[in-house]
């Protein structure tokens, strides 16, 4: 009896909590939808030229199809070779820019890994030599990763001029912030006993890190780094939009000259590149993990 009463009370409470949470979430959802103009009514011109009131989503969706339709090139079976040649007419420029895009991603990843790796140790709660260094390095990494690459790129284009240099620095800085955070989380999960052993043998703080911590986190570091390279290829393909080198500048040119088919060609190039690099780095990561498991 007592148990059944208890159980019923328990059930009632769980239901009340569920209902309350649902109501709160629904209200939040409606508020954000309203704030983002989800319920806006807009005027549209109908086919016969008259004006009408329509819900914004209903009015806008057809235009998405329109835009995509514009970017699709004219490809005919009979003239396929020639059509593709026209579609990719600027391939020589794009090939050079694609190479530049990948090189920007590579350089930026290298710089970011160096910065993030070194800073991840003072930014780990269990390894920082004191609270001030922990605080400083954590704030630095936070700033580096919260500011988007595009914003850094705008600043660096202003400082160092238009070109890949600005892109490398922008993505590199952001990468250092993002990787430093991931690395430091890996650092915080290590076994501290080897570090005690190094310390007890007379090793300095850097010896403790080099001999005690680094061997433990190395597989994680490798895996995160490859993952980051994939992300950076995507980032460097758009960063040229603000003049920081790579394919992105062609997006801007194509949009301002309304060369819609160029956009789809660029999209295809980036899709293929990113897919290929994703696959390669995934294979490499699995190799690393596989080696790890066997050793």
């Amino acid at each position: 009896m007592a148990f059944e009463q208890d159980f019923a009370r328990h059930r009632r409470r769980a239901r009340r909590v569920f209902a309350a949470v649902s109501v709160v979430l629904a209200v939040l959802f409606l508020l954000t939808a309203e704030a983002s103009n989800f319920f806006k009514i807009t005027q549209v011109t109908l086919a016969d030229g008259s004006r009408a009131e329509r819900w914004v989503i209903g009015a806008g969706l057809p235009r998405l199809g329109e835009y995509i339709a514009k970017t699709i090139p004219d490809l005919g079976w009979a003239t396929l070779g020639g059509d593709i040649a026209t579609w990719f007419a600027r391939w020589q420029i794009w090939a050079v820019l694609l190479l530049e895009t990948i090189l920007i991603a590579f350089m930026a990843t290298v710089l970011g890994v160096i910065g993030g790796f070194i800073l991840s140790f003072p930014a780990s709660r269990n390894l920082a030599p004191n609270r001030w260094i922990l605080w400083l390095s954590r704030r630095y990494l936070e700033i580096a990763r919260t500011v988007p690459e595009l914003v850094f790129a705008l600043i660096f284009v202003f400082c160092f001029g238009i070109g890949p240099m600005a892109g490398v620095l922008a993505i590199g800085l952001h990468t250092a912030g993002a990787l430093g955070k991931l690395y430091s989380e890996a650092n915080e999960n290590i076994d501290m006993r080897p570090l005690d052993g190094v310390k007890a043998a007379g090793g300095s703080w850097s010896d403790m890190i080099r001999y005690g911590a680094v061997p433990q986190v190395l597989p994680n570091v490798l895996s995160y780094t490859l993952l980051r390279f994939e992300i950076n290829v995507r980032a460097s393909s758009i960063i040229g939009y603000v003049g920081a080198g790579g394919l992105g500048q062609e997006f801007r040119t194509a949009m301002s000259y309304q060369e819609y088919t160029d956009l789809s060609a660029l999209f295809v190039i980036i899709l293929v590149t990113v897919t290929v690099i994703d696959r390669l780095s995934e294979m490499l990561r699995h190799r690393v993990i596989g080696l790890e498991a066997r050793a």
Binding site: R193, V198, A201, R210
Partner: protein, 271 residues
């Protein structure tokens, strides 16, 4: 023989409100083989960590000859840690590094920043490490990863690491608590050989009374952070033991229950 004496005077360490080590005053003479016994939580580990300066005391002083150990900072502190090597219950090796590098960690106190970051060691240091490993019968495993060795082998690697520090004192914190009887005996024999053949002072925490009686020339018992008994194994009578461990209603006390004894093999004497 004017080798320095290790003196603790009024040494204490509090964690929050707990007095882990409370006003311990002791003299450890060179060449002694001292066993520290006591219940879990009696402050044995803290005492050893205080001596090695892995943790700082909240009261009292440690001196070694004319050196005030409690005042050491920076490079001098690191040299003190080198001179007073430490072995841990869980070995504290870097499992992902090879055995040889693990032993060479014992040489880091004398290394500069760049050489140590590049893991560069001299031929002389490598020779020293191999000798130490050979003495502990582990030379064939030198290039294996430390994590692939058994517990007993790992503890002997840790002893080799301590040996290449060329220490004057060797501290061992429950070195055989996670080992089977055979390996425990080999480790204790190694410590005995280091004490007798190399003249290194050994201070070892033990939780098995018969091991302490077999190997130690002097036994210190700790209770609630204080040095409760200090004497020869012979002076450690059953009444004293009952006081140390506070057997709470247990009428008998059988040392064989906790025994990890096995027949000692002869350890090679080299180096």
């Amino acid at each position: 023989m004017d080798r320095p004496v290790l003196s603790l005077s009024g040494l204490g360490r509090t964690f929050g409100t707990t007095r882990a080590v409370d006003a311990v005053t002791l003299d450890i003479r060179p060449g002694e083989f001292v066993g520290v016994i006591g219940r879990s939580g009696a402050g044995k580990s803290t005492l050893l960590r205080l001596i090695n300066r892995l943790i700082d005391p909240t009261a009292g002083r440690i001196t070694f000859g004319d050196t005030d150990v409690t005042a050491l900072r920076g490079r001098e502190l690191r040299h003190w840690r080198r001179d007073c090597a430490m072995i841990f219950q869980q070995f504290n090796l870097v499992e992902r590094l090879d055995v040889l590098t693990n032993v060479l960690v014992g040489r880091l106190a004398d290394h500069g920043f760049l050489a140590s970051m590049a893991m560069r060691f001299t031929d002389a240091e490598r020779t020293m490490a191999i000798r130490a490993l050979d003495r502990l019968e582990l030379a064939p495993q030198a290039l294996q990863r430390a994590g692939t060795l058994s517990g007993g082998q790992q503890q002997r690697v840790a002893i080799a690491r301590a040996l290449v520090q060329s220490p004057r004192i060797m501290l061992a914190d429950e070195p055989i608590a996670s080992l089977d009887p055979g390996n425990a005996t080999r480790v204790m024999e190694a410590l005995r050989s280091i004490n007798r053949d190399d003249g290194i002072t050994v201070l070892v925490n033990l939780h098995t009374l018969d091991t302490a009686r077999t190997y130690c020339s002097r036994i210190i018992a700790m209770r609630d952070g204080r040095a409760f008994f200090d004497g020869t194994p012979r002076q450690l009578t059953n009444d004293v033991v009952r006081d140390i461990y506070g057997t709470d209603g247990l009428t008998g006390f059988d040392e064989a229950v906790t025994s990890t004894r096995a027949r000692p093999p002869r350890l090679r004497e080299t180096a």
